[in-house]
Amino acid sequence: MNTIAQPVLEVRDLCVAYGKVEALTNANIRVGEGQIVTVIGPNGAGKTTMLSAIVGLLESKGQVAFNGRVEVSPDVERMVAGGMSLVPEKRELFGEMSIEDNLLLGAFHRYRTGKRDHAETMNEVFELFPRLKERRAQQAGTLSGGERQMLAVGRALMGKPRLLMLDEPSLGLAPLITREIFRIIAELRKTGVSILLVEQNARAALAVADYAYVLETGGVAMEGPAHDLRDDPRVIETYLGLGGKHQDMLAT
């Protein structure tokens, strides 16, 4: 049990079904203030499904408490307005728009409610990702994989989220870029944002996280502080074993 007094996010008995197929069964997750929590697990374990259900893109049963407010069926607009930001696996950038416009739209929900500090926030994002600043007028669709991921994270940060949910941020990226992304995730900790990180790259995820859940076939199979799981023989065998040596160099 992730023991925190005041969790930013508390997911209780979350179930999602695609028709008759249960994709997620009674998942329980907690993310504390300023914590980095990771969810690792194999392909098809229901990781992306869980994030989609938490933000309200998918219908679900169970309870999602965000900022202490209990949502029985989360609604995307309400969750985003409350400070939840999802960087989806597919990035979902606005390809035919400039980097600057993509970032600006990240602040849309704040702009709508009268908080018009997007110029300031954009400078902060540019500080974190100087590469984006150089190419601010370039169309998002022309960026490389790594730059697209940076833009997706930057766009999410534009909304000044309390909880940042990252779905496979290293997916399809070259090892060097992956390392850069994880460096930035570690750096984000300083800003106080809570992070829920879903990853297949277990080694890198466990290295950066405080607490970890292992999701297998739609349910939480194991959980514990990240450094404990790193030493757990079952985790080592299944997730850190083969090919782990290669990733070992990247995680540090």
Partner: protein
Amino acid sequence: MDLQIAILLGQDGITTGAIYALLALALVLVFAVTRVIFIPQGEFVAFGALTLASLQGGNTPATLWLLLGCGVAVAAVDGLAAVRRGDARRLVSILGWNLAYPLALAALFYASQPGAMPMLLQILVALAIVVPLGPMIYRLAFQPIAEAPVLILLIVSVALHVTLVGLGLLFFGAEGTRTPAFSDAQFELGSIMISGQQLWVVGTSALLIAVLYLFFGRTIYGKALRATAINRNGARLMGFSPVFAGKLTFLLAAFIGALSGVLIAPVTTIYYDTGFLIGLKGFVAAIIGGLASYPLAAAGALTVGLLESFSSFWASAYKEVIVFTLIIPVLLWQSLTSHHIDEEE
């Protein structure tokens, strides 16, 4: 044909082309954001023109009752949902826009004589009646099936068109009307005579296109609409609700349609079903733009306008055939050159 006639035909073509351009932009916008091929776009043209004509005849336009009816329906559906969720602020806004607003308009007719108002005010009243029908129709017809495939949306769109044309006949009768021109001014430019109304049509269209360009290029709401058109899920994750995007789009489409109707009513006689043909020609222009490109759609609209005007001189019986045949080479060209656009999953 001498030069004089060619110039006259050209002027005519540009005037109607400007209207087609507006409608083409509305069609492209609606399709890009909501994936609805908006067949009833033309009905907003007819409703705008006929509502204005009815006002000028000193009558209460029947579209006002349609607005009241749609308002009651939307208020009932959305109001109940808000009550169930216990969202009082939302309930107030729903009742305000869908009940109080149409009632206030009705009260205006009860209290004053719209027939005696100055024309500009009459135009504003006509727009105030017809334009809110756009988002209401989106709420009632398209919002519940927003995720449906394009074909289903098209079928609903056709059904809506038939319904609105029927209502148009019921409301305004089978006779056509023509409203007085905004101005009787005539300008001489060398040997060319330009009427004030033509300038109004072309000028207003150009202005509206410029305003739309700025809206989509400079404002965050315009950019959010474009973002929705590019990536619906992405826009949703930014907190831009697809329901709001749909309503905003239909509001713009209704405004463009009704304004086109008001502009063209002094130039041509409008019947309850005229809108369909005008809308279809806008659609041809939109197809030329591939239902995606605004500048190409506008250029296509001018082509359609000019082609129509010149073919009405040479082969007036075939002018519609000629205009709609234009679509075949364009589609052929597009199917050969452009990549196939798969429907979003």
